[in-house]
Structures are given as C-alpha cells and as structure tokens.
C-alpha cells in the first residue's frame, strides 16, 4: 500500500501554483505541505500521497481555466469530491493538481413538475433528498455513506445503495452530466430528455472514475416518495438457507425495495453499536423491504413473509411503524462504523457474485479466515449479489496488513471465478487495479485505454487509476484466464 512520503519537484510546484494563481485567488491554490496534507488520501486511507498542488475552484469558468492551464503544461489533474471513496480513486498526484470540487455545493434548480434537480457536484447525496422532500420527492440511490458522499463522486463511481435492485444505480437516476474535457471544453452528456442523439456517452461517463471528464453539474431524476415502506427482519440458522430464501423471494415475482443480509459476526458487531434488537443467535439475518401504495405494501409484505417462512426463517418480525423500520435498518446502515469499533482497522471488499453462488463464496471466505488468521464479518446487498466482506486487522502490524491484502485479493479473484466482478459499486481506483488483470483480458484492457485516449489523448486526467497497463498485469503475474489460455501471450513474465 502507498507511502506518505512526498516526493515533490519544488520547482515544478512553484511553476504550476503560479500559473494557477494567475486566475485563482490565493485561497483557491494550496501548495504548502501543511495545507495539502489533508488531501493525501480519500476514504481508503491505506493509500496516501501528498498532492503537489491543490486547486479549489468556485466556478465552472475557474475549472475550465485550471484544466486549460494544466493541459497546456502537461500537468496531471485528479478530481476529488467529498473524499469518501473506498478505492483510492481520488489518491492525489505527486506531480500534479488535485482538483477539489468541494466548493460546488449549490442546488441550482429544483423542478418538482419535471421531477429533476440540477445540483453542483459537491452537493451531498442525502442533501438532495432532504431539499426535495417538501415536494414529496426523493433521489433514490442511497450509498451507505450518503450523509457524507457527494453526487459528483457518485457519478464517478456509479454508486448504488441498499435500494438499487428496485430503483437502479446512479446511471439509472442521472439525466445529465455537465462538465469539461481535459482540454477545458464544456461538454454535456445526456439531457433532460430520456435519451440523446448519438452514442450514450452519459452511460460511459458515469462510473468512469474521473478519467474521462470533470463534472461540474449533475441533473438527477427524482422519484415520488412511496406512501409506505415496511421491512421484514428474518432470521436463519444457516447462511445458505438465507441465500436460498433470497432466490425464493425473486422467484415469487417480487422485487423488494431492499434486500440485505448480515452474517452472525456482522450482526454481533452492529448490535453492540446500535441496539436494534437483532437476533444474535441467527447465522444470518435478512432485511427485506417493501414500499409503494399502502395496500400494495400490505400484500407484498404478506407474500414475502410467506416465502421467507417456507424458506426456513426461524424468526420473522415486521416493522410496525417508520421508527421501527429505521431501527431495523440502522444496524445495516451503520455496519462499517460498527465494525470499525471492534477492530483497529478493517478492509472492505466489494465483489459482486451471482446470488446462487453465495454459499460457496461465504464458505470460501470462511476458509480464508483460517488460512490468514483474520476475522471477516460479511454484509451483503443480497438482492443484487454485491458482497461487502470486512476483513478485521491492525494496520500497525505490517504482517497483518500483508495478510489482509492477500486475503482480499483471493476473495476478489474468487468472485471473478464464479462469474462475478471485483467491484460492484466502490470502483477500481488504485486499490483493485491488479485484480482488473484477472477480470479482463489484454484486448479489453487495451480497449479501455483507447477509450481513455479518445477523451484524454495526453492521459492527464486521473492517470494510473481504474485500468492497469499490460506490463503491470504481467508483473502482477495473475493474468486473465480465458478458455484455458493466458490473456497476454506476447508479454514477458516475471
């Protein structure tokens, strides 16, 4: 994992800072180490690097000027939102400019009739739903960091949340992303209509981890708030039974508003933290939510209860009011901080798997716990197959850190092997860049680099993230295996 030692070229630093000061006020350009140090990492604190220069623009025109200046000087630019990302996507450049969009905090327009809100990228996810609540509307994607993460970061990562099986990801809930290319040209991806002429560049831009363009404005779709929401909490004495219950709910033709699972160690950790009244005897707990019109929710809850009971649930409780519903959810939403309290450090994984392979993957994780001598509670977006195993470790012990990394790598590779992916919603960033070599072949990785060049020929925007070079894959030594053949036949191996 990364080191914090700055290796700054001071002459270059001065040159770049001065160039930015030509059009930015003093408060918007940071370069002294005491000012730049707070930007050394995002939510993935294991990777740190002090940026050469931090720019804090306040207007789109300033963003444009920064990009033009950096492009002309050949200086790398790394955009950053709230800094809550979990894959090191906003790890700063030691030789470039960290472009913070933290000052882009305004809600520009709310149109309750068209059901859209136009916001700046620094607006927090949860703040959107708060500000449109008086109109009976909300913004659906709700990543667990929603009180802190910003919509610009959500766009970069295509963030999900606990309701995305029914309501979709960021890509399904954003109509337009407005911003600038690395050359400083203004560009719109999408529109306020449901589609646009030409290629769907909006779909390409969302989840591109800040490698294709810089976002300065986002138009989000708002949904009418459901009349009622209720959640079932179901206990199972066996994790595989809980997995089968998830399949049974879907097979019954129900798409729950939320369908989450926690295993016993995760439940124990969160119960200590939030006192939600979770069943501590259960091997796994399912939270299964229904929302919609009152009559419909009554119906669906009854059907889901029936399915869960037949799937072997040992205890079933249905929230009686909204306070109780939120209490049932409180533990799941607080799973990460709760785990943070029982261990000095934890490492959160983000693989997605076909749901039917859940039992196999959880057994595999159990075996890895033994192999590496580290504990690993699991929380799981069960409805869409997105696993968040949390490896508990102590970063002060270098050996534990090493074992954690190896543990995580094995789990992610297992996810690929069962037909899943190394990242469901946190992004590749710097963290999972080596595992990209397992998931994709050389030809696909080359295509990703070519797409990047189509937008950013000089490779200045968030360089070194998300897509590994082929030589890195060769060094990593774990090439993609396709039909029994290695993916990079032409490359030397070490």
């Amino acid at each position: 994992m990364g080191s914090a030692l700055p290796e700054i070229d001071f002459q270059r630093q001065k040159q770049v800072a001065q160039a930015l000061r030509e059009f930015l006020p003093e408060r918007s350009v940071l370069w002294e180490q005491e000012d730049t140090q707070p930007y050394e990492c995002d939510g993935l604190t294991a990777y740190r690097r002090v940026p050469m220069v931090v720019a804090l623009p306040e207007t789109g025109a300033q963003v444009q000027q920064i990009l033009k200046a950096c492009h002309a000087m050949g200086v790398p630019v790394v955009p950053r939102g709230a800094g809550t990302g979990l894959s090191g996507g906003a790890l700063p450049p030691g030789d470039g400019v960290l472009l913070s969009l933290a000052k882009f905090m305004r809600v520009l327009r709310i149109d309750p009739v068209a059901r859209v809100a136009v916001v700046q990228p620094g607006v927090r996810n949860a703040a959107i739903s708060d500000v449109v609540a008086p109109f009976g509307l909300y913004y659906a994607p709700d990543p667990s960091s929603q009180i802190a993460c910003s919509i610009g970061g959500n766009v970069a990562e295509n963030s999900g949340g606990v309701h995305c099986l029914k309501y979709g990801l960021t890509v399904h809930n954003v109509l337009r992303v407005r911003g600038y290319t690395i050359e400083g040209e203004p560009v719109d991806f999408g529109s306020e209509a449901l589609d646009s002429a030409g290629y769907d560049l909006l779909a390409l831009a969302i989840g591109s981890e800040g490698l294709l363009a810089v976002t300065t404005e986002v138009t989000v779709k708002l949904l009418p708030k459901p009349e009622v929401a209720r959640v079932i909490m179901a206990s199972f004495d066996d994790v595989e039974k809980a997995g089968d219950a998830v399949a049974a709910v879907i097979a019954a033709g129900i798409v729950p508003a939320g369908l989450e699972m926690m295993d016993k160690p995760a439940t124990a950790a969160v119960e200590q933290f939030v006192r939600a009244g979770y069943d501590l005897e259960a091997a796994a707990i399912l939270l299964c939510e229904s929302d919609g019109m009152a009559a419909e929710v009554e119906d669906e809850i009854a059907r889901m209860k029936d399915v869960l009971a037949r799937a072997g649930a040992t205890r079933l409780a249905v929230s009686r009011d909204d306070a109780e519903r939120l209490r049932f959810w409180s533990g799941r939403k607080a799973a990460f901080p709760a785990v943070g309290r029982i261990s000095p450090d934890y490492y959160c994984m983000d693989g997605t798997i076909p749901k039917k392979r859940l039992g196999e993957v959880l057994n595999f994780i159990g075996a890895m716990e033994k192999k590496y001598g580290l504990r690993c509670p699991n929380v799981f977006h069960a409805g869409d197959g997105n696993l968040h195993p949390l490896i508990l470790f102590d970063a002060n012990d270098p050996d534990q850190l090493k074992r954690t990394e190896a543990f995580a790598a094995e789990v992610l590779e297992k996810c690929v092997q069962v037909g899943g992916t190394i990242t469901g919603e946190h992004g590749v960033g710097v963290e999972k860049i080596d595992q990209m070599c397992v998931q994709f072949g050389a030809a696909e990785l080359e295509m990703f680099h070519a797409i990047k060049r189509a937008f950013d020929p000089k490779g200045l925007l968030n360089p070194g993230k998300a897509v590994p070079t082929l030589s890195r894959c060769a060094e990593f030594g774990k090439a993609h295996v396709k039909s029994g053949q290695l993916g990079h036949p032409g490359l030397p191996r070490f």
Partner: protein, 359 residues
C-alpha cells in the same frame, strides 16, 4: 436468404473487410432497416449466431446471442412470468436481440421500467478488427472498467457486431389495467406530469386524438387502489393488449400512411409543440411522435423546436432522409464520437454512415 454464419465466420468476414476497407452492413432480420440513415455495404447476417446462452430466473438475468429472435426470448421469459422491462418494439416478426440492442429502442414501459441501455449488464462484441471482447458481466452491479455494454445500446452497430448480451429482467406484473380519459394535449401533458410525481403504478401512457390511455401495472391491490383514485374509463383487457401492441409496433392508426414520422425526445413537461401535423405522446410526455409534411424545410423547424424544448428530434420513418436521420451533434461531442468510432472500428467498415454521415 444468406447462409447462416457462425461467430467465427462473422469474425473472418470482419477481418477480411477491415483488411480491404470494404463496408459491412450488419443485419439480423432487417426489421429495422428503415431506422437511421440508409444502410450501405455488404450484408453481414448475424442470425446464425443465435440461442439463449443462459437464463437464471432467480438471478433476473438472461444471456443470449445476437441472432436470437426476440419472440423466442419472450416466449421463454413468459414461462417464468418474467419480461424485458423495456418492452422492445419488434417492427417485424423476425426481429433479433442484436438488432434490438443496436437500435436501442424501448417501448411503452420505458418511462417506468427503464430503457434497453438500463437493462444492459454485459456484452460480447466483435470490434471492427474482428477482436472478440467482453464487457460488463451477468451481475446487477459491476463498475469494473468503463460501461461499454450500455454504450452499445443505440450505437446502431457502428462500434461492433453485438455478439451476445446479458440483460436484467423483471417479474411480470401480476395485474395490468388500462384507463382512458378524454383530454386535449396540453391538459394530458399536465396530468401526466402531475401523476408521475405521485406514487402511482403507471407503466405506460399514450395520448392521441384527444384520448389519453394510461396503463397501470403491479399488485392487484395497488392497481385497484390507483384506478379508483384516477377515475377514467376502463378499457377491456383484450382491447388493451391490442392497443399497447399497436402503440409499440406502430400498427396503431396514428402511424398509418406515408407522411414522414418524427420521434421527439423531450423533457416530459415541455409544452405541446406548435408544429404542423398530428402528434402523439408517450412516456408521460417525454416521447412525442409527429406526422409532418414531407417538406425539407420542415426538418429544420422540427429539429429547432425539439432543441428549444431541451430535447432532440429523429426523422424516424421517411422516404427521404437526405438531411440525416439524427440531430446533429455539438462540435465537441462530434469529435468524441469520431474518436470512439476510430477506437472500436479503425477501418471504418461497420455500418458506416448509418448514424452520422461522417462515420
């Protein structure tokens, strides 16, 4: 009928064409030959690469090859009470999955259940050099690498032969009911936007000739409660099926005749456009159809009106499309399109000109 090509044979044809710089016209059944600019190049039949590769009802995912007929997919889904949420138009009995994704056209359920692109989870393509590439996967959430699978929806085959796709499915709604209301266009737009802001199970809407039809889908209790709130006239179930078929497949009387058909994609609340010709609304007001005069000058005014309203206009069906089927792109977007096209198809042989004349 051309011979049934295997994937390897399709790959060889692309390699050969790329080497010689000869354009290929990628084609399934030809049900969407009318769409976009006129096809040119030697036909490359994709129907030989067919079949459902995997289908897991409890995962809500199906993976199928490009030549698979949509009708076959729907028959298989039917048995498991599942549907393609985007309710694709076929525009012909033999319509294939590949053509459906390449055209990227969605049907009446689009405003509530999402588009073709929204349902795309993964794809395998043959690029312009015949390389077989796999993007995305078969899981709901996947942010590894750029989302190329979704980019392919609506790319009209210009980025690659879409060989196989994985799609997210939805359960079939338990109950559907259609209500009709007598309303002028402006009033219909107002109502549709108001209803869309309420938690009602509206799954489709269409307005033409002063009549608004609204389809409700979901649990019986929800549909019943909503129908009571909304009022209107109930349409007979069999008639409703025919009605929505007619809207989706454009066999409805609105689409009869030879007058050019424009598709306008607009913000749903955009006021009724003052354009000569009959209009029809779908998608809660976000999709508008216009039967315009064949006058070439009309092209400019339709495109301008759509752009002013915040959307774009496509000349969907017309005997003559010399002004281009699709709205022109801004200079920066046009450059990005050209660069992407070069990336996927450096020899420029896949469906050249079908989307824009310059590539």
């Amino acid at each position: 009928m051309s011979p049934q090509l295997s994937l390897t044979q399709i790959q060889e044809r692309i390699r050969e064409a790329a080497g010689r710089g000869l354009p290929l016209c990628i084609r399934g059944s030809g049900s969407k030959d009318f769409y976009g600019n006129a096809p040119r190049g030697e036909a490359l039949d994709t129907r030989g690469h067919a079949g459902i590769a995997s289908y897991e009802p409890t995962e809500l995912v199906m993976t199928a090859r490009c030549g698979t007929p949509l009708a076959e997919i729907q028959a298989v889904l039917d048995r498991e009470n599942q549907i393609l949420g985007f309710e694709p138009p076929h525009f012909g009995a033999g319509a294939t999955l590949g053509g459906c994704v390449a055209a990227g056209l969605s049907g009446p359920r689009r405003a509530s259940a999402g588009s073709v692109r929204d349902a795309m989870l993964g794809a395998k393509i043959l690029d312009g050099q015949g390389q077989l590439l796999a993007f995305g996967g078969q899981v709901m959430k996947n942010v590894a690498g750029y989302d190329v699978a979704r980019l392919l929806a609506g790319s009209l085959g210009t980025l690659g032969v879409i060989a196989e796709v994985s799609l997210k499915l939805l359960p079939r709604p338990q109950v559907e009911r259609t209500l009709t209301f007598e309303l002028p266009q402006a009033k219909a737009l107002e109502q549709l936007n108001r209803w869309a802001g309420k938690p009602l199970p509206v799954s489709a809407s269409a307005w033409r000739d002063g009549e608004l039809a609204l389809r409700l889908s979901g649990a019986g209790s929800a549909v019943g409660a909503a129908a009571q709130k909304l009022g209107g006239q109930a349409m007979d179930a069999a008639q409703a099926l025919r009605y929505w078929d007619g809207i989706r497949e454009q066999s409805d009387r609105f689409f009869a005749g030879a007058a050019p058909l424009w598709r306008l994609s607009l913000p749903s609340q955009a006021p009724a456009l003052e354009l000569p010709g009959a209009q029809m609304l779908e998608w809660g007001g976000a999709l508008r159809w216009l039967r315009a005069s064949a006058d070439a000058r009309a092209s400019e005014s339709v495109r301008e009106a759509a752009a002013r309203a915040g959307g774009h206009a496509t000349l969907f069906r017309a005997a003559e499309k010399t002004r281009g089927a699709f709205a022109p792109l801004s200079p920066v977007l046009a450059r990005l399109h050209r660069e992407l096209k070069k990336t996927f198809d450096p020899a420029g042989i896949l469906n050249p000109g079908r989307m824009y004349p310059e590539f």
